[in-house]
Symmetry: C2
């Protein structure tokens, strides 16, 4: 196992911390994810990377997982309404048109296997059952992906042919919103588990910076959709 | 990181090896997966656990990922035909009826991080992009899940309401079979990569046992569906 270069890793952590607040300012970061990410940063041996709180998309692509030759024609991190997507669905697609719903995905970096193990235990306990270590490298540390089995990949149309009955779209949208909600529910459980368990070792630099922003690890608000869920 | 108990791990490996051949005899093991699994066993520091070559199922469940209160009403590891599933789809379901297609999933155990890293590199190179380390324990070793993004979870019906147009079922089945095939294609690439790279350290006990069964690491046949793919 490569040994982690702590000073390079530390520099990266502080860069990611600054970027988090920039992303928040420009609206690039899903605001509901912020408190969960902050909890990770309050630990000296942890930072986060690209993350998503869960979303509903319409994708024009050959397969739901296609990246190349794929275009996202609609995207939302909150429940959708039939009227929002009906126009898109009625039009012919270039490839196939998919309704994809995904649960939360959080990428985390840590400096040691013990912390990785603890994070994985918390994530699995919250319902992120498909979490694991993706890679271990000297400069980037131990990279974890925290993820759920919450997923919908439904075929709406194949080019000029509708596969899903448009008269039943309300039912499908209702279920897609439920799938999104199942993912958010897991994120709320993660918030609660992190609030109880974090930090393992406090990162005073981060906690000081939080205070300057008017926040403390003790007074972070849960994501908005958790109020009805917790 | 817990240190692996090599003698316990070794005993477990030999038990899993015996079980592999028992499972094959009783038809419990997907035969097409066998050569891939054998390659892993020929390395002294690796064994496999529960695995699947990819499959198409019809599930009666609230969500595609539900385990409890879920029943698999149809399952096949090879392409399906509309006529095989039409009868099921026409009948009301207890919960919701899903058409789920999954790519290959292979669970592997190894005794050290270096081997884990090498396996992950081979798996990702073959297209198993969502592979990672699930856990590390003294007796079970480092457990990896090798898995793909190949997945379809399509809503067919919600109790007594059909959501998918039954007149378009042939199109959906065609695409479901393509999804299955995409998974098998990745499994073939994995077979080829393992053939080139395995074993890192030969396991003479396993290789001797293979010879007694009339097989050698050099003469393993690729999975049947690879002949048209390779």
């Amino acid at each position: 196992m490569p040994s982690i270069n702590k000073s390079v890793w530390r520099r990266r952590k502080l860069e990611f911390w600054d970027r988090l607040w920039e992303d928040l300012e420009i609206g690039y970061l899903d605001e509901d994810l912020l408190p969960v990410l902050i909890y990770f940063y309050t630990d000296k041996e942890i930072h986060t990377l690209s993350s998503c709180s869960g979303r509903i998309i319409l994708a024009d692509s050959t397969f739901p997982w296609s990246r190349e030759e794929s275009s996202v024609v609609y995207k939302k991190h909150s429940p959708i309404d039939v009227s929002e997507i009906l126009g898109i669905i009625k039009k012919p697609s270039v490839r196939r048109l998919w309704l994809n719903v995904t649960g939360p995905i959080i990428h985390v970096s840590t400096t040691n296997i013990d912390t990785a193990d603890k994070i994985l235990a918390i994530a699995r306990n919250a319902g992120m059952k498909h979490s694991g270590i993706l890679s271990i490298s000297e400069n980037k540390g131990i990279i974890l992906e925290l993820t759920t089995g919450v997923k919908l990949t439904h075929l709406l149309r194949s080019r000029d042919e509708l596969v899903t009955d448009i008269a039943k779209l309300d039912k499908l949208v209702e279920i897609a919103n439920q799938v999104l909600y199942e993912g958010k529910r897991i994120l709320c459980r993660l918030f609660v588990d992190l609030r109880e368990n974090m930090p393992f070792t406090p990162d005073e630099t981060i906690i000081d910076d939080l205070r300057r922003r008017g926040l403390t690890p003790e007074n972070l608000s849960p994501p908005s959709y958790c109020r009805e869920l917790l």
